[in-house]
Symmetry: D2
Subunit: 207 residues, 4 copies
């Protein structure tokens, strides 16, 4: 095979969740397509890339609107300014929006804080978060919600953010909260860990 | 193969989670063992069976104590008489006990109420539950916790029990509660359903 | 739980392919059954055990016939005395019989020869195999078929048996053979290893 | 999201083995990359496409050499002209070459003949195969090897090709063969189907 093809396979092998065998199948799939169609594929790829940008506020990838650098959520002045939710990834924003039960603003960290990482500020957007939090404290903020995965990395990230933001909100009547724990859809009691059951009991509610 | 062996394989195929191939392996495993050892296995099986009984109160299988028909939990007068938790299976009691955050009494239904079942009272112990609930309402009961799996059958069973027990507790300042919903250990936000996120938001708590 | 029950769970955990969680479910399943039924289960187990024995010739577990210590195959004088097939396990005999294309006799080793095992003769029935082979060489034997799994342990066992049996058949016009290699049902060419393809080419046949 | 992005996700969802969720992740992965790098990726894709072509003889995708329309194998006059192997896919050629035990020429059908397909000639390259076979019969051909997957579609394709090519080779002392069947690497006897064991017995060989 030519060097061009090998380079292509390498590129595909860097795609998320793609191993060498699938990378090869992708290359083969594209190389056997009509040249015109392939050209149109690469063009739509570049056009799509040009159409998006990271939101100037929450940081998530979103479609440029032309007039502003803000995404549709951050540009919506009717949302609740008292609430500010920090999530790790863009997709988390989508999940929370689908629940229809949050009307505040978001901040996307761009990743978790790895447990043994000594310089998390080089990995996730912590200085930007601090700056925005400070600005929001002067604009009616009453609660920062740390909405993180319930696994060791998520818990570590929560601890880190709490320590980071506490000075900024100290003495300002702003609370920092975590998402509630309990049974999630599909959970069976007999396979639940003690911590989940403990929280499910604490958060029990009348029917 | 002899009829004896075929019958044996059939018995193993009735074991929970065992298919015909594994049933055959079990039969083969036992048939190739020393006769003395096999005899001692069947004896320990019969002895174990004789050593257990369903608790006269909560109904779960437990080791007979000789003096009483009650299991260790139901016989423990120091537990909290204001709380009564209904679970589907014996193993659910173990899970809740492991959490260390419940000190009340239990009732084991002995199964879920299937969604299209017309005569659930023939399947799970509903008349016994009603009788015990009535008795407990005269003995300080303040809350019945329906601790059920978070799946369609569990939700259906919860609805059924609520309807069943409401008359018994009506006007008595006793509430019926469900376990709290939210993120359970291991949950990742991006794969969470809207209902789970909605409840995780509702149950959020300050750190 | 009582010691009886713990002992029972331990016994089930020794069953092939059963982990601690399933062992517990088995114990629970049996302990909640009617005592009479449990008794009849243990009796059918002991009866089945009494009804079987290892064949005095090939060694596989089979139903005792009363008159002879031989299994139905070894007792069948009409089979082909020129062929002697060595397999690792009882179930291998069943597989070969199902193919309907072998009419000779069998010998069940009772296991594979592990690659780093220094004393295989303590693990598999090698001295008995040698003895029987010697006896069959005086009774018309022309071929010993080593029918072993096509994995490293099977190949190692094949090598071991070849070395073991070569002196016994030397100078006697008896060949030692291995099962043919090639594509097996379901094999896709693109996922086949070079060795399989090499043999599939060697064994190709006119249609 | 913009139409550009939706279109992009649709394109990725057409990649082999890619579902909607992974397609979205691919789109997101590329859209968050540096624009320069993305540009270079699309360029390497187009260059690679331009560097390849279907071989004028066997039909498989291969790197253009400039002087000839033939792939490296078909252009190699030192290979064995008596052998002609028909495979379904390009990757099958790679598998057979890796075995190092075939030195003849290839023909890539470009797919299997589906079992209920009424017009296979519109799907796979049958008229080209017939033409090439006829030409090779005048050039020393002695054997056509149908090297197909050992599943129902492969067997059907083999039947179809046999019927197709029989007239062309009739009376010419050219045989049509299939790859040999038997145990393939990793096969365990106890899980083998009767047909595989039958063939493994037929193809058994002395050690």
């Amino acid at each position: 095979v030519s060097d061009f093809i090998e380079k292509l396979v390498e590129e595909f092998a860097r795609f998320p969740g793609v191993g060498p065998r699938q990378a090869k199948r992708f290359a083969y799939y594209l190389l056997t397509r009509n040249e015109e169609k392939l050209k149109s594929f690469t063009e739509s790829l570049l056009k799509a890339r040009k159409s998006v940008a990271h939101c100037g506020s929450c940081g998530r990838l979103s479609v440029k609107s032309g007039k502003t650098s803000l995404c549709a959520i951050c540009a919506d002045a009717s949302r609740d300014k008292t609430l500010f939710m920090v999530v790790a990834h863009d997709v988390d924003v989508e999940s929370v929006e689908k629940s229809g039960s949050y009307k505040g603003y978001y901040f996307v960290l761009g990743g978790m804080v790895p447990i043994l990482d000594e310089k998390p500020e080089e990995r996730v957007r912590v200085s930007e978060l601090k700056k925005q939090t400070a600005s929001r404290t002067r604009d009616g903020l009453t609660e920062i919600i740390l909405a993180l995965d319930l696994n060791p990395e998520g818990e570590h990230t929560g601890e880190y953010l709490k320590t980071l933001l506490s000075p900024t909100v100290a003495g300002k009547n702003i609370k920092i909260t975590l998402l509630g724990r309990g049974l999630s859809t599909g959970t069976e009691l007999q396979y639940s860990d003690p911590e989940t059951i403990k929280n499910a009991l604490k958060n029990r509610a009348s029917v």
